[in-house]
């Protein structure tokens, strides 16, 4: 007796739920087009995108091809862009060498004061940029023991490429460390555990397992660090007005000759940044495609 009853109710429940499931699938699709919230979101997104793109496109299209060519022929401009790229890449390289172990420690270890250390690493993002320059100069001067040691071994910060690299490393480090830390966190610690159990030392495990899985994040981190450093002005102008990096040159041309003369240099700098951005997208998109 219980058997026919239960099977009958079973049939009933199936036949009842099937049409409602179809309705629940199709209704939102039809409603989606009329949803005012969606249109509000689209409209505000369009405003934001326009806010970013319109000034940039306007500036990119203002200079004539002739003026762009002339600017590229200007040795000072080429030198400043080259200096920007070289110093920023050096900053990224330093961040890679010294920031990778720190990022690994932060991703893998729990220790007292970890949150404070993470906040310290983020400080360069929050501090006003001229303050960064002033802070670095204050330890590099003769009044500070570190400054005296540096000068005794011939390291000058004020107005030198060394000073530029130091200040760019300072502002770019958080971008590198946070990106690489996130990369290490994505790798299961179990892979490292298994590697250790198979006989590899901690160092061997890092180079045979962790590094091959995290290198893409390291490249992305280095590109982000470079991009951040290329665009730095506030800290650079305090530490080294000369030799002139591209942002300082743009500023100088703007204040001395006006908008028209600063725009072509800005266009070339933007093109350099676009190449960096393109590289960033290529390296950051690959893992998604693989997954």
């Amino acid at each position: 007796m219980p058997c026919p009853e239960s099977s009958a109710s079973g049939w009933r429940s199936v036949s009842n739920t099937a049409p409602s499931a179809v309705l629940s699938d199709s209704r939102p699709r039809r409603q989606r087009g009329r949803d005012p919230f969606l249109w509000l979101a689209v409209a505000s997104s369009a405003v934001i995108v326009a806010f970013i793109l319109v000034p940039l496109v306007e500036m990119m299209t203002q200079p004539t091809l002739v003026s762009l060519k002339e600017t590229l022929m200007d040795r000072d401009v080429v030198r400043s862009i080259r200096l920007s790229i070289v110093t920023s890449s050096s900053a990224a390289l330093i961040a890679l060498v010294f920031g990778t172990p720190l990022a690994y420690l932060l991703a893998r270890r729990q220790f007292p004061g970890k949150k404070i250390l993470e906040s310290v690493i983020d400080l360069p993002i929050m501090i006003p940029h001229p303050v960064v320059g002033i802070a670095l100069l204050s330890i590099a001067g003769r009044n500070h023991p570190i400054g005296r040691v540096m000068q005794s071994v011939g390291i000058e910060v004020m107005g030198t490429v060394t000073g530029l690299i130091a200040v760019l490393t300072f502002v770019g480090l958080p971008f590198y460390i946070n990106t690489v830390k996130a990369g290490f966190e994505e790798i299961s610690p179990r892979l490292e555990h298994v590697s250790r159990s198979l006989g590899a030392s901690a160092g061997g495990t890092f180079f045979r397992v962790t590094l091959p899985l995290a290198w893409r994040h390291m490249v992305v981190g280095a590109i982000m660090c470079t991009a951040r450093a290329v665009s730095e002005f506030g800290a650079v102008v305090i530490v080294a007005y000369h030799p002139m990096t591209a942002p300082v040159m743009i500023y100088e041309r703007f204040t001395a000759y006006g908008l028209k003369y600063s725009q072509p240099v800005a266009v070339w700098l933007i093109l350099v940044c676009l190449v960096l951005f393109l590289l960033l997208r290529i390296f950051s998109l690959k893992p998604k495609a693989a997954s």
């Binding site: 239960s6 250790r196 198979l198 045979r208 091959p212």
Partner: protein, 345 residues
């Protein structure tokens, strides 16, 4: 052989031990317990991945407590296999050879034998990301055994597998253990895995071992109410002793066994027999009323209310239909005193 003596691990919010455990040479031992009981922590202590607060761990008569993982000679296979995603199947299996003088013919011969016996020959050049769950487990097993470890640790290796692969990998573990004679310590929360594979088991609860013994003993004669519950006793009832006879509270089920120390009576649900109450059968057991029936397909779970106590029973669905048992129906419960197990705590 693995011998764990007075092992304690203190972590923020959890404390393991002190735990004493001995896995004999060539034994297949299962560590059972619910999630969060500290099973994996014991395993990781043996591998050397967690800092031990107190105690000693011996692997093959060697004190490994202070040694780093790479010097312990302990292989591990995780539930998610933890295969190196950037390496091919072959490179995964060969990963540890260079650290064990395995680059010579001995290691390669062992790998070749493992690849053949685990049926991995056609997968060698594949990326591990394209393998099925069962294939991944076999690769992880081959990788762990390639370095000829003294002991093999398995961390819930069957938990994430589909039922069809589960049976296959279970058979594989059984045959590999028989063939290699390696000491195995497996962690699981599934008693079926332990029952089919292990020679002995230990039940872990809240960082402490509740009972150690053969799977059959633990299954039939749990030492504590927690173990009884864990192995699916379902009916763990408070009991008391009066004039040498054990009275199960409310039921007045008098049993000529027990002493003053027993405080609980445990009955497996399959040992509770239910008969329909009909005019011609007369009084055949404890009268009760079916409170609920949960149809599980092949089996049905019944909850029968009697004298203020709810007794759980399991029976074949076909038998349930044959007897015409329905929710709310009056029935008789029959329990053989030999099937009642007495527990002290």
């Amino acid at each position: 052989m693995i011998r764990i003596e007075q092992l304690s691990v203190r972590l923020p919010g959890f404390s393991l031990g002190p735990v004493d455990l001995c896995v004999e040479e060539g034994e297949f031992f299962c560590l059972l317990g619910p999630t969060g009981s500290g099973k994996t922590l014991i395993l990781e202590s043996v591998v050397g991945l967690v800092r031990v607060s107190h105690g000693r761990i011996m692997v093959s008569e060697r004190d490994v407590t202070g040694l780093p993982p790479e010097r312990r000679g302990v292989g591990i296979v995780y539930q998610d296999c933890a295969l190196f995603p950037h390496l091919s199947v072959e490179k995964n299996i060969h990963y540890g050879l260079r650290y064990h003088n395995g680059v010579n013919s001995d290691g390669h011969d062992r790998c070749r034998h493992l690849v053949d016996s685990l049926g991995l020959a056609r997968l060698l050049n594949r990326s591990v990301t394209t393998l099925s769950g069962g294939e991944k487990q076999r690769v992880a097993l081959a990788r762990a055994l390639a370095t000829a470890p003294s002991v093999l640790l398995l961390d819930e290796p069957l938990a994430a597998l589909d039922p069809c692969f589960r049976e296959e990998i279970r058979d594989l573990f059984r045959s590999l253990h028989r063939e290699t004679g390696i000491t195995v310590l497996m962690v699981t929360h599934d008693f079926t895995d332990a029952h089919t594979l292990a020679q002995r088991v230990a039940i872990l609860h809240d960082g402490h071992i509740e009972q150690t013994g053969s799977a059959e003993t633990v299954f039939r004669k749990p030492a504590t109410t927690f173990v009884a519950d864990f192995v699916g006793m379902q009916n763990v009832l408070p009991a008391r002793v009066e004039s040498g006879i054990l009275i199960v509270d409310g039921l007045n089920l008098a049993l000529p066994t027990g002493n003053g120390h027993h405080r609980f009576a445990a009955i497996r649900p399959e040992h509770v027999h239910i008969l329909p109450k009909s005019n011609d059968t007369g009084e055949e057991g404890i009268p009760g009323r079916i409170r609920s029936i949960v149809n599980q397909g092949l089996f049905a779970e019944l909850a029968v209310e009697t004298c203020g106590v709810t007794i759980k029973a399991v029976m074949l669905t076909s038998s349930l239909m044959e007897k015409g048992l329905r929710q709310g129906g009056q029935v008789f419960l029959c329990i053989d005193p030999a099937d009642v197990h007495l527990i002290q705590r």
